[in-house]
């Protein structure tokens, strides 16, 4: 029942692409106290295969220790924001947990209908490290589901809370979580006629915002590498708009490829070795890839239209993109080496910015219809289209690492209007704004951190 978290390192590929994991790895060991043997199958489980999921009532007690309360409060927000859990108001708690390692009085938690209970502690060790322990209990099953222990340096305290959240999410849903991840986005300030745009990065919940560029040049559409601490994005530096690659930690950057015209709309391949993007030539935009090691470029489409927003399937075998070759913007799928694309979008309106889910099962998109901008999903063959949110202007979805949640930007109207980031789960029921310091657009979700 208990999964060892891997802290695998991925080798740097070449040149300035240094190895991943500049973020410090958390050391983790696992606890199982009292010889309570965990049942062979989890009794308490949220079934995510069903359409509508009633949030699971869960009691998250204040963790003891130096930053215990802060940690458990982040865990509580994460689980609540997923839409899958309903943390119970601590005012209703009957038992006050004094020893987070002792078996709780399950009957006290059954009375308030808590299905699951979380206890824990976070303390500073003599060597300055943080030590965190938590236990997840099945209230009606009278047993511990998981117990885990972590050590890390104090700078990682929020990550600790996210990792605990992911462990709880996984134990109760059977799927990996998405809380220990980050968002790269474009921070927007200044008047609408001359917006200052900066690359910025933050935790998935909006905390720890850090700016990666200063705003001296227009920057758009940053996307994470799946394997390295780097992003690809479009920059207008020097009045010469191109696709760039940028190391997150060092700030080192470089143009991708030596293309004769404007390159834009970049994204990494799932193995992180290629960037796929559009190249404009005399007003015609086609899709190209560049291998980051060999620098080989390959042209994948050959139209007289606008072919853009390419996104790979997670196995790397197919590419979805948008094209107006048939008149309006529609979604097309082709093999990873090009070839004749098949159109997959046939609803009323136009479709754009397709992104393949990391699970492979869905493609998210922006749809323009009847003067509104909608965010929706469809299966890769174009069937089962569902709209998740609609309004004046919603655009540019990005998938959480587990394929359960989309983040996108929503623009408000008028001279003083601007974009803010929102997330919505794939049922469309749980939508919320992600706090950012200013206007924000073009979010891209990282993989789970290592």
């Amino acid at each position: 029942m208990i999964h060892m978290k891997k802290s695998s390192l991925i080798d740097g590929a070449k040149g300035f692409r240094a190895s991943a994991n500049s973020a410090k790895i958390l050391i983790l060991s696992l606890l199982m106290l009292f010889g309570i043997s965990v049942a062979a199958h989890a009794k308490l489980e949220l079934d995510l295969t069903k359409g509508t999921i009633e949030p699971l009532p869960i009691a998250i007690t204040n963790f003891s220790g130096d930053i215990g309360a802060e940690t458990s409060s982040i865990v509580s927000s994460n689980l609540k924001n997923s839409g899958l859990f309903a943390p119970i108001d601590p005012a209703a708690f009957i038992q006050q947990i004094s020893d987070p390692n002792a078996v709780p009085r399950f009957e006290d938690w059954r009375v308030i209908n808590a299905q699951a209970l979380v206890t824990g502690t976070v303390s500073k060790e003599g060597d300055g490290r943080l030590k965190a322990e938590f236990r997840l209990w099945d209230v009606f099953g009278n047993e511990q589901i998981i117990g885990q222990q972590y050590f890390t340096n104090p700078n990682n305290s929020r990550r600790l809370a996210h990792i605990i959240s992911d462990a709880i999410y996984k134990a109760l849903t059977g799927e990996s979580g998405y809380f220990d991840s980050r968002i790269v986005f474009v921070d927007e300030t200044g008047p609408k006629t001359k917006r200052v745009k900066r690359l910025a990065i933050m935790d998935q919940d909006g905390a720890n915002v850090r700016y990666l560029s200063k705003g001296g040049e227009l920057v758009l559409t940053p996307r994470f590498s799946p394997t390295h601490q780097e992003i690809t994005y479009m920059s207008f530096a020097g009045g010469n708009p191109k696709v760039y690659l940028r190391q997150i930690e060092t700030g080192q950057y470089d143009v991708v490829g030596d293309f004769p015209g404007m390159t834009f709309s970049p994204r990494f391949s799932p193995d992180g070795q290629k960037v796929i993007m559009s190249l404009n030539n005399d007003g015609i935009s086609n899709i190209y890839t560049m291998d980051l090691r060999s620098r080989t470029t390959i042209r994948l489409t050959n139209s007289n239209a606008i072919d853009t927003s390419p996104s790979y399937s997670p196995d790397g075998s197919q590419i979805v993109f948008e094209s107006d070759r048939g008149g309006r913007q529609q979604l097309y799928v082709m093999g990873a080496n090009g070839g004749e694309p098949s159109r997959i979008s046939f609803g009323t309106g136009s479709y754009s910015t397709p992104v393949w889910s990391p699970r492979g099962d869905l493609i998210a998109f922006t749809k323009q219809s009847g003067g509104s901008f909608l965010i929706g999903v469809m299966k890769p063959d174009g069937s089962k289209e569902r709209i998740l949110t609609e309004g004046y202007h919603n655009e540019g979805p990005t998938w959480s690492p587990n394929g359960r949640v989309l983040m996108f930007f929503r623009e408000s109207r008028g001279a003083n209007g601007g974009s803010k980031l929102y997330s919505v789960d794939i049922t469309g029921r749980h939508e919320r704004q992600i706090p950012t310091p200013s206007f924000a657009s073009d979010p891209a979700w990282s993989p789970l951190l290592e």
Partner: protein
């Protein structure tokens, strides 16, 4: 042993799409009449051959229909004048900036601005302006000149601007 499971309720998707049809298509309306439409038509003091002369008396920009890079009759007339002027005053480097309105997605608008800039350049080249004198750049929807949320502004933003200099930031 009691088994706690989530309760499953009604089907996931309630029709969020209801009401989408109401907003109407925001495209058809006369385009602004270049400089006149922008209130730049005060002729005073522009010396012949100056940038001001070009902007005011010739018109530095042309406008497009939604999602289109086709040059309208008005646009052609403006570009005819631009071509004559640029052939007379040959000392300016030329950058054509293509722009889109905010009612499109970012990547597409970048490409659409490039298509508009290219269409504008090709017309000027056909009118005798040397191709190697003209650079093009697209700003997509990133640099609107009018910022209201209706057609009166969007139609001013769907434009190609002939700049008598290098590209602006």
């Amino acid at each position: 042993m009691p088994i706690a499971r989530s309760v499953l309720k009604s089907p996931i998707f309630i029709a969020l799409a209801v009401g989408l049809a109401l907003a109407g298509c925001a495209s058809k309306k006369p385009l602004p009449d270049n400089a006149n439409g922008l209130g730049l038509n005060n002729n005073g003091g522009a010396s012949p051959g100056s940038q001001q002369d070009f902007t005011i008396n010739v018109g530095d920009r042309v406008f497009f229909e939604t999602d289109s890079s086709a040059l309208t009759q008005t646009a052609r007339a403006t570009l005819d004048k631009q071509g004559q002027w640029l052939s007379q005053y040959t000392n300016y480097p030329i950058t054509i900036e293509g722009h889109a309105d905010e009612r499109g997605t970012r990547e597409y608008n970048i490409a659409l601005g490039a298509r508009r800039a290219a269409a504008t350049r090709d017309y000027l080249v056909a009118k005798g302006v040397p191709r190697n004198r003209i650079k093009t750049i697209s700003y997509g929807k990133e640099r609107p000149v009018a910022v209201c949320d209706d057609i009166s502004c969007w139609s001013q933003n769907r434009r190609a601007v002939t700049q008598l200099a290098g590209p602006t930031g």
